[in-house]
């Protein structure tokens, strides 16, 4: 039966069909749904790990124990897991081990657009890349087989477009895999990477990649589609779809395995076509290697050939038919298109108000960010919803690099004797991810950093995933709920407080008091994300009393999308009054707390108002 599945759903389905036993991941767009789907299949253990390195170690451990296993992550997650990735490349495993990296060309929700095919080459690991959901499923199954055949981890590289596009998939049934070893391996020469053993393993993995390159020559997922001989395109992944869309008559060498490359197959393809080009997203990963093989590629006379970049297609950002077409025209591969018709609408004629994402109405992060902005000291931020605090009017994030970086970056400034005291701001899940060792460093080396853990009781940005603080696992089993305050104290921080994240005054008072004291401190601002189902039940829109409001603008400064500038003006100052959008307001009361004129009713007052009416 054929079903529409997203690339992520298809990978989960493929893993299940391939008999995966253990899957571990940390959520990250665009990879998150892989584990969310896999967790629902019978016979699979699937978990959220605190971070990607822990997840990959777990998958490796299961594969050492003879069970098919995978770890999935967004592209930058593989940076965190790189240490594990490299030792697994050295040791191999007893059963299939697949590492899934979901890259994010155009950085739809990421801090960079690294091309993780480079990791495959870096670690001498084969890399498969699907072009649609059917291939995503098929190549996931193939990855497990390949892993066992060559005793190597396999990198399955996806991209946002593949992950979040749904196409038809023929789904199958599970092929259960009994453990491949009866007993846990006692094989130190293979699994204990002390230098003496590692030196013996390195030639093994270099030989393995040569054998894989030979295997690639006849691999069923590499294929040549001959059409016109005038143009030949080597392509892989979603770029294959653009090749077929924009150059329908061209011959195509479609690579399902993008590392290592089949040299003879490429040479053969090159010999059959007049002009050879490579169409790939991001880095010139295939292009560079083809050039190194000494195979002549089409070089448009009007374009310069640089050694480390692409000649024809864009190096930066996600491809699409328009960019591929434009590049094709520039390179003389397509006829020059007629000049585009004059724009008839859109942004060309009217300047449209932007619609950026914002912290939601009722977001418990808002109060802390508002107070931090008011205090005015440097704020080292982290990865999560609270990064949106960078947007005016909050302007409350000065740096944000990667998961867990907030505390380390603040510590660096502190030990460098920066003249200002630094705040580090991160969420509960990010703290569990990589914040813990950084805070340990602050405690151990006694830096002056004030860390704020915004504990919204969930992993928010990626769409509400469980984490060690929620008391539930990915597969919805009850578990121990890790309490932040004892954990922080155990790390060696003595000055710790937990406050309600919606209590503006307590947050301000605590932070201001701590600024007078030397030494590290941690404030935990605790309140569940307003979008959680249980919280939604408590929503109660507030109200502005027009007679009391004089348009002082203080409530506008909290940057809440539920607070509007009214069309009514204050008579004395001729400035707009505040108004509350009842369709959005959750009743978090942050605006009511900051209002100096008591012009916004609190929940209790709203209740009185309703009682008075009825």
């Amino acid at each position: 039966m054929k079903r529409l599945l997203s690339g992520n759903e298809a990978v989960a389905h493929g893993a299940w069909e391939a008999g995966v036993t253990v899957a571990s991941a940390y959520p990250g767009t665009p990879s998150t749904e892989i584990l969310e789907h896999l967790a629902r299949f019978p016979g699979v253990y699937a978990e959220w790990a605190p971070n990607e390195k822990v997840a990959l170690d777990a998958a490796i451990g299961a594969a050492y124990a003879g069970r098919r296993a995978l770890a999935s992550m967004k592209h930058v997650g593989l940076n965190v897991a790189a240490d594990a990735f490299f030792y697994a490349a050295m040791t191999g495993a007893e059963a299939g081990l697949v590492v899934i990296s979901a890259d994010d060309p155009s950085m739809h929700s990421s801090q960079n657009e690294q091309d993780n095919r480079q990791f495959a080459k870096f670690a001498r690991v084969p890399c498969l890349e699907p072009a649609d959901s059917q291939e995503a499923k098929d190549l996931t199954v193939a990855a497990f087989d390949l892993s066992e055949q060559f005793d190597t981890p396999v990198l399955l590289r996806l991209t946002t477009r593949l992950c979040h596009t749904s196409t038809l998939v023929e789904v199958g049934t599970r092929c259960d895999q009994p453990p491949r070893s009866e007993k846990y391996p006692r094989n130190p020469a293979k699994y204990v990477m002390i230098p003496a053993n590692a030196r013996r393993r390195h030639p093994v993995i270099e030989q393995r990649i040569l054998e894989l390159a030979e295997f690639a020559e006849t691999y069923e997922h590499n294929r040549i589609e001959m059409r016109s001989a005038s143009l030949g395109i080597i392509t892989a992944g979603v770029a294959y779809q653009y090749a077929r869309e924009v150059f329908p008559q061209a011959s195509v060498l479609k690579l399902g395995m993008v590392y290592p490359l089949p040299k003879r197959m490429i040479a053969d393809f090159a010999s059959r076509v007049e002009r050879l080009i490579v169409l790939e997203e991001l880095d010139p990963f295939i292009e560079e290697q083809v050039r190194l093989m000494g195979i002549e590629m089409y070089q448009p006379e009007n374009l310069t050939l640089y050694p480390n970049t692409k000649t024809i297609f864009p190096l930066i950002g996600e491809l699409d038919p328009a960019s591929v077409c434009a590049a094709g025209i520039k390179a003389g591969l397509l006829p020059v298109a007629p000049p585009p018709a004059p724009p008839t609408g859109g942004e060309a004629t009217i300047s449209l108000p932007a619609r950026p994402p914002v912290l939601c109405a009722g977001c418990p992060h808002r109060s802390t960010l508002y107070i931090l902005h008011k205090i005015g000291l440097p704020i080292n931020g982290d990865i999560g919803c609270y990064t949106l605090g960078v947007i005016p009017p909050l302007n409350a994030i000065d740096t944000c690099g990667c998961m867990g970086a907030s505390i380390g970056v603040a510590h660096g400034a502190a030990v460098a004797d920066d003249s200002e005291r630094h705040f580090a701001v991160l969420g509960d899940s990010t703290f569990f991810h990589t914040g813990i060792p950084a805070l340990l460093n602050v405690a151990y080396n006694r830096s002056n950093v004030i860390t704020i853990i915004m504990d919204n009781r969930i992993t928010g940005m990626t769409g509400h995933q469980e984490n060690p603080g929620t008391g539930r696992t990915l597969q919805q089993k009850e578990t121990v709920q890790i309490e932040l305050e004892p954990l922080v104290r155990a790390l060696g921080i003595q000055r710790v407080a937990t406050v309600d994240a919606l209590d503006v005054e307590s947050i301000e008072k605590t932070l201001k008091a701590w600024l007078k004291e030397e030494g590290p401190a941690v404030l935990i601002t605790r309140r569940a994300c307003a979008l959680l189902p249980e919280e939604r039940k408590e929503w109660l829109p507030l109200k502005v009393i027009e007679e009391k409001c004089n348009g002082c603008t203080i409530c506008f400064r909290i940057g809440c999308p539920a607070i509007l500038k009214s069309e009514k003006m204050d008579a004395k100052y001729d400035r707009p009054l505040a108004e509350i959008d009842v369709s959005m307001c959750t009743g978090c009361e942050i605006c009511a707390q900051v209002c100096p004129r008591d012009a916004i009713l609190f929940r209790s007052q709203m209740a009185e108002l309703y009682c008075a009416r009825t």
Partner: protein
């Protein structure tokens, strides 16, 4: 080596039908595109649906592409190639108007959701007359549906997306039964009856 010899006489895939759906986070744009893609499959097409989420819960602009055809390659639809622009909000209709092909059709929910930039008083939401004239000048036809009125009559404010699909079904001349099956496959079980009601009301609204 696997070589597929494909002759030059291979006929070019017949033209795809391209839909772009645009809305604001929380409006159900993604669910609507799931239903539309499912319908394409039910009608015997190859269908692809592409979306970008991540920021969708946070009041940002949300879009998705749905393509139907004998053979569909790119999941992305380029500017000037959209046959049907389905907008769940007026400003979002304007924002993606440049994706419409000459003579393409716009179906727009007559609703304004002010973005934070407007609420903050930095910029003005475009005047309604300007919205209407801009859409009319760019599109082959513009169909307005009052989704809010329909949802009020149906009694569930969350069904505007399905009401707009009802309107689209009338424009596409597609059998109602197939739509209802596609809705059934994707809407939460307890909301199927109310979604069917919204769908029918939307279908009537453009007839």
């Amino acid at each position: 080596m696997l070589v597929e010899e494909i002759t030059m006489t291979e006929k070019k895939p017949s033209k795809n039908i391209n839909f772009m759906l645009a809305g604001v986070g929380g409006q159900g744009t993604i669910l609507a595109s799931d239903i539309l893609a499912e319908l394409g499959v039910r009608l015997g097409y190859e269908a692809k649906k592409a979306e970008i989420h991540g920021m969708s819960q946070r009041g940002g602009s949300v879009t998705s592409y749905v393509r139907w055809g004998e053979q569909v390659f790119s999941p992305i639809i380029g500017k000037g190639e959209v046959d049907f622009l389905v907008a769940f909000e007026k400003l979002e209709a304007l924002r993606y108007l440049d994706h419409l092909r000459p003579g393409g059709i716009v179906l727009v929910n007559d609703q304004a959701i002010e973005p934070i930039t407007v609420k903050a008083g930095d910029v003005k939401y475009p005047e309604d007359a300007l919205v209407r004239s801009t859409l009319a000048s760019a599109a082959g036809a513009v169909h307005w549906v009052d989704g809010q009125e329909i949802t009020e009559s149906v009694g569930n404010p969350k069904t505007a997306n399905v009401a707009i699909l009802g309107a689209l079904s009338a424009l596409l001349d597609t059998p109602e039964s197939e739509w209802l099956e596609a809705i059934k496959a994707h809407a939460p079980a307890k909301h199927i009856a109310i979604n069917e009601k919204a769908f029918r009301a939307g279908r009537e609204a453009v007839k």
